[in-house]
C-alpha cells in the first residue's frame, strides 16, 4: 500500500491510500458484502459500512496509476465542491474513470465484479485514520503487490473499447508498435478522466 498527501484539499480528504491486490479469491463475496452493507441499519450497518469504506476498483481496465490518481483527484474535488454525482467520494472514483455519464455502467465496468482477480483498493481519508492496510487486508483475500505491478495487469483492449479508441488517428500514429500504442491509450484515458466535468456526452 502507498499513501499520498493532497495538501490543498481539506484535511478530512487530504490523504489517499492505494493498495493493489492480485490473485483475489473473494471477489464474489466482497461484491455481495458491499451491496448488503448499503441496506443494513443501526450501529451494525454503520460498522459494516466502515469496514468496506473503500473504492474497490477492478484493475483490468485501469491504464496506469496516473489514470487512477486523476480520477481520485477529480472525485475529491467534486466532494469538496459538493457536486458529487454519486453517493460517496469512493463511488465517484468509479464514475470518474468511466467516460460515459451512466453510473450503473461505471460500476459494472470499474467496480468489483464476480470475476475480478486484480483489485485496486482506495481510501480517501484524514491524516488521523491509521491501520488502513490492515483494514484493507481484512476485507480482500489476495496478494498485496507493489503499485508498479499494475502495468502487467492492464487489459489494453478493454481500455481501448471503453474509451472508444478503435480507428482513432492517434493510434494509427503508433503504427503497430505496442509500447507507443499503450502510451497513446494511457494519455487519452488520463486526459479524458481529467476533463470529464467539461465534456458534454
Amino acid at each position: 500500500m502507498e499513501t499520498f498527501t493532497y495538501s490543498h484539499f481539506p484535511s478530512a480528504s487530504s490523504i489517499v491510500h492505494i493498495a493493489f491486490f492480485t490473485h483475489v479469491s473473494n471477489a464474489k463475496a466482497l461484491r455481495a458484502r458491499i451491496i448488503n452493507a448499503a441496506s443494513l441499519t443501526g450501529k451494525q450497518g454503520d460498522d459494516e459500512r466502515e469496514r468496506v469504506n473503500f473504492a474497490f476498483v477492478d484493475a483490468r481496465p485501469v491504464a496506469s496509476l496516473l489514470h487512477l490518481q486523476t480520477a481520485i483527484c477529480q472525485a475529491i474535488l467534486s466532494e469538496t465542491q459538493d457536486v458529487l454525482r454519486t453517493k460517496t467520494v469512493h463511488s465517484e472514483i468509479l464514475w470518474a474513470l468511466n467516460p460515459s455519464h451512466n453510473i450503473t455502467e461505471a460500476i459494472r465496468r470499474y467496480g468489483v465484479s464476480d470475476t475480478t482477480t486484480s483489485l485496486l483498493v482506495v481510501r480517501v481519508t484524514s491524516p488521523d485514520l491509521t491501520d488502513v492496510e490492515a483494514r484493507m487486508k481484512a476485507v480482500v483475500d489476495g496478494q498485496l503487490e507493489d503499485l508498479s505491478a499494475l502495468a502487467s495487469t492492464t487489459d489494453w483492449a478493454t481500455v481501448k473499447k471503453y474509451y472508444k479508441l478503435a480507428g482513432e488517428d492517434a493510434l494509427k500514429e503508433a503504427d503497430g508498435d505496442d509500447v507507443r500504442e499503450r502510451l497513446v491509450i494511457d494519455s487519452i484515458a488520463v486526459s479524458t478522466v481529467a476533463m470529464k466535468s467539461v465534456m458534454n456526452t
Binding site: 502507498e2 498527501t5 495538501s7 477529480q74 482513432e168 470529464k196
Partner: protein, 252 residues
C-alpha cells in the same frame, strides 16, 4: 479557502499574461509536475458573465486538446480541470519554446536585451535536443497539418506556442515537439481559417527570427506534404490572405 486556489498558492508562478496566470505545481506528494493555467476574474466584467465566460474558455481549451490527442497531434495531456475556479492543469513539458530555440529570446524578454548572446546559445540549445533546425521546421509543419486535417484551427500559432521537450524527459528518449496554448482554438473545416493560422505563423517568424524565410519555407514544405490533396485550397487562401495583409500594411 477554495481547494484549487490553495493549490495555486502552493505552486510556483511561471508567468502572468493578460488572460491567464501560469504556475508550476503538483497535485499530491508523489505527483509529476504540471502546468496550471488560471484564468482569473476580470474586474471590469460582470461577475456572473465573467464566471460563465471563464468556464467556457477552460472547457474550450480542454476540448481542443482532447480533440488533438485523439487525432494524434502532439499536444500535452490534460491532468486537472476545475472550470468553476478557471483552472486547467496540463502535463508539464520539460523543454523550451521554439521561439527561444530559434534565438528569438525568451517569452516576455525584449529582443534587444537578449540579442548579443543569442546566436551561440541557440546553437548549443538545439544541439542539446539532438534536432537540426531543418528537422525542427519539418516537425512543426507536420503537426500543424495533422491539426488542420482534424479541422482544428489553433487561432494563435506563434513560435512561443510550440515547445520542444528534452529527450531525457521523454519515455522513449526522443526529442518531441508539442503544440501548446489552445486558448483560442476552434473547430473549422474552412481552408481560409487554416490559411490564416499559417499566415499568423509566417508573420511571427518574420518578426522574431532572422533567416525567417527559409525557415518558414521548411515548415510549409512539410505541411504541404502531409496535407496532400487538402493543400491546394489552403495554398490559394494563403495567397489571398497574404495579399490582404500586404494591402493593410500599406494603408496603415
Amino acid at each position: 479557502m477554495d481547494s484549487t486556489i490553495a493549490l495555486l498558492a502552493s505552486s510556483q508562478p511561471v508567468s502572468q499574461g493578460a488572460e491567464a496566470a501560469l504556475y508550476k505545481g503538483t497535485l499530491h506528494s508523489a505527483s509529476a509536475p504540471l502546468l496550471l493555467k488560471h484564468r482569473f476574474a476580470k474586474g471590469y466584467r460582470h461577475p456572473t458573465l465573467d464566471a460563465s465566460l471563464t468556464k467556457a474558455r477552460v472547457a474550450g481549451e480542454a476540448r481542443a486538446l482532447m480533440k488533438c490527442l485523439r487525432s494524434g497531434v502532439s499536444v500535452p495531456g490534460i491532468r486537472f480541470v476545475d472550470a468553476s475556479a478557471g483552472v486547467l492543469g496540463i502535463e508539464w513539458i520539460d523543454g523550451r519554446s521554439v521561439r527561444f530555440l530559434l534565438g528569438g529570446g525568451d517569452e516576455g524578454v525584449d529582443d534587444e536585451e537578449a540579442d548579443e548572446t543569442e546566436e551561440t546559445e541557440e546553437e548549443d540549445a538545439l544541439a542539446e535536443y539532438g534536432v537540426a533546425r531543418d528537422e525542427l521546421m519539418r516537425r512543426i509543419g507536420t503537426e500543424i497539418a495533422k491539426m488542420h486535417l482534424a479541422d482544428i484551427v489553433h487561432g494563435d500559432l506563434t513560435t512561443s506556442n510550440m515547445m520542444l521537450r528534452l529527450p531525457s524527459a521523454s519515455p522513449t528518449n526522443q526529442p518531441t515537439l508539442f503544440l501548446i496554448d489552445f486558448g483560442l482554438a476552434y473547430t473549422s473545416a474552412l481552408a481560409e481559417d487554416k490559411a490564416v493560422d499559417l499566415y499568423v505563423l509566417e508573420r511571427a517568424f518574420g518578426s522574431t527570427h532572422p533567416d525567417a524565410e527559409p525557415l518558414f519555407a521548411g515548415v510549409l514544405a512539410a505541411y504541404e506534404e502531409r496535407m496532400g490533396k487538402h493543400w491546394l485550397p489552403v495554398r490559394r487562401k494563403l495567397e489571398d490572405v497574404r495579399l490582404r495583409g500586404r494591402k493593410r500594411s500599406m494603408v496603415g
